[in-house]
């Protein structure tokens, strides 16, 4: 009779890890899921599993080794109540990943929708102060007729994939063992029998629809910023979660304002007399009109600061430019000439 070591193809000195690997390597080839109706494969699987059950348990392995060397009678594991199902319940974690379906069971049902990207042009003021901007997005939305399930009222699961929408097979290329899962060729991946597909969406579960979305642009949004709106992307298939809407923000330049982080810069032109004598000028700020006090003796290029009038509590910096009159009236000329004489 072959020893359990022979069955697994390992030496009697094999480590627990070597035993596990050897078992997995061989068991995936003869697993009942992969060989439905093949009695020989099932028998081989049971044989491998029994060997593994004993050798993977240090205590049982000690007893087995002792029996093998004539110390004790060989434990008859075959007499214990045992089935493929029992074994999978006990050692199922070993197969996670070996068979495509085990991965898929852990994931949410259906296929998640794709993320949809869009570019949103936002005016300078909205980007700085925040606000809502309407955007029209053309993308996949759940079919109103079937509710996203892709099937009509008398839905039947696809006979080839059993409704999972996927078929999983061991790769047959070059004798390699990894699993390849692909959309079911019979139903195209939606899991429904062709004849019972929703007529409105053809079984996809989604339709192309233009949606208008009010995007909340946060205060202080920079040019090039990305906003992610969860669940507003492409609809998922067969109950899968929707993707996200990813919005790339482009901020339009403004003819009055420039931005530098949380600071806002703007220019103001003042008459020469206001620069010399001081006074007040009207100024455009992000939040509306304001009155700016010009101190007497302000030079061209001076910077005046409006505290807290920038973005998120930053300042508004006003660059002063003195406007020299290009043309003078006769009286103005007289006065300037008099001023010049006084200055010597």
């Amino acid at each position: 009779m072959r020893s359990y070591y022979d069955i697994l193809g390992v030496s009697a000195e094999a480590t627990a890890d070597e035993i596990k690997r050897a078992y997995r390597r061989q068991a995936v080839k003869v697993h009942p899921d992969k060989n439905p109706g093949d009695a020989q494969a099932e028998e081989r699987f049971k044989e491998l599993s029994q060997a593994y059950e004993v050798l993977s348990n240090p205590e049982q392995r000690r007893e087995y080794d002792a029996a093998l060397h004539g110390g004790h009678p060989e434990p008859d594991v075959r007499e214990t109540a045992w089935s493929v199902e029992d074994f999978m319940r006990r050692y199922g974690d070993l197969f996670s990943g070996d068979f495509g379906a085990s991965y898929h069971r852990r994931r949410s049902p259906g296929r998640p929708g794709s993320d949809v990207e869009a570019t949103l042009r936002v005016d300078f003021r909205t980007a700085a102060l925040g606000g809502k901007v309407q955007v029209a997005i053309k993308g996949e939305a759940p079919c109103p007729s079937c509710g996203g399930g892709g099937a009509d009222a008398h839905a039947r699961p696809c006979s080839q994939c059993g409704g999972t929408g996927r078929v999983t097979q061991r790769s047959s290329e070059q004798g390699q063992l990894f699993t390849v899962t692909r959309p079911c060729p019979a139903c195209g991946g939606n899991g429904q029998d062709v004849a019972s597909r929703c007529r409105n969406c053809g079984g996809r579960g989604t339709v192309i629809k233009e949606q208008k979305i009010a995007v909340a642009v946060p205060e202080g949004t920079d040019d090039g910023a990305t906003l992610r709106l969860r669940g507003l992307g492409g609809a998922g298939l067969a109950g899968g979660r929707p993707g996200d809407l990813i919005i790339h923000v482009r901020v339009d330049p403004d003819r009055h304002f420039r931005r530098e982080g949380e600071r806002i810069h703007s220019d103001v032109r003042i008459p020469l007399t206001t620069a010399v004598l001081g006074g007040k000028v009207a100024l455009r700020t992000l939040r509306g009109e304001a009155s700016l006090t010009i101190p007497p003796g302000t030079s061209s290029g001076a910077r005046l600061r409006l505290k807290g009038q920038g973005v998120r509590g930053g300042d508004h910096v006003v660059h002063v430019h003195i406007q020299v009159p290009a043309k003078l009236t006769g009286r103005q000329r007289e006065l300037y000439e008099e001023l010049a004489r006084l200055e010597g």
Binding site: K20, R24, V28, R107, R111, D115, Q176, T181, R241
Partner: protein, 115 residues
């Protein structure tokens, strides 16, 4: 498609289909790289401590999702998202696995006139 446009397209598809792997629980994305030679796009995925039977290749529209379960008990599942750029055949990838190193080749689809 020249390599620069291909790189842009791959990045676009990665962003578009990031949702596919976003919900992966207890897993992390492994770095991948690609090379373009002639009519073939080759993806290279280096899995750490993953043996061949524990690799799962899922073919989805526009992307391949690769998952690997490391042999070490308790280690996180490793995954990779490989875009299938337009013009390449994602239905019939050629997959080769050697000691935890996975190479996936996608052939360029030929038009009817063979171009």
């Amino acid at each position: 498609m020249d390599p620069a446009s291909l790189a842009r397209e791959i990045e676009r598809l990665r962003r578009k289909w990031a949702s596919v792997v976003r919900g992966e629980q207890e897993s992390f994305e492994v770095p991948v790289r690609w090379t373009l030679s002639g009519a073939m796009l080759r993806w290279h995925v280096a899995f750490e401590d993953v043996i061949e039977p524990d690799i799962d290749v899922e073919i989805l529209p526009q992307v391949l999702v690769i998952r690997g379960r490391p042999a070490t008990r308790g280690a996180s599942i490793q995954h990779a998202l490989l875009p299938i750029p337009p013009g390449f055949d994602g239905e019939r990838p050629r997959i080769r696995c050697e000691a935890g190193y996975l190479e996936i080749c996608l052939h360029r689809l030929l038009s009817e006139d063979g171009a």
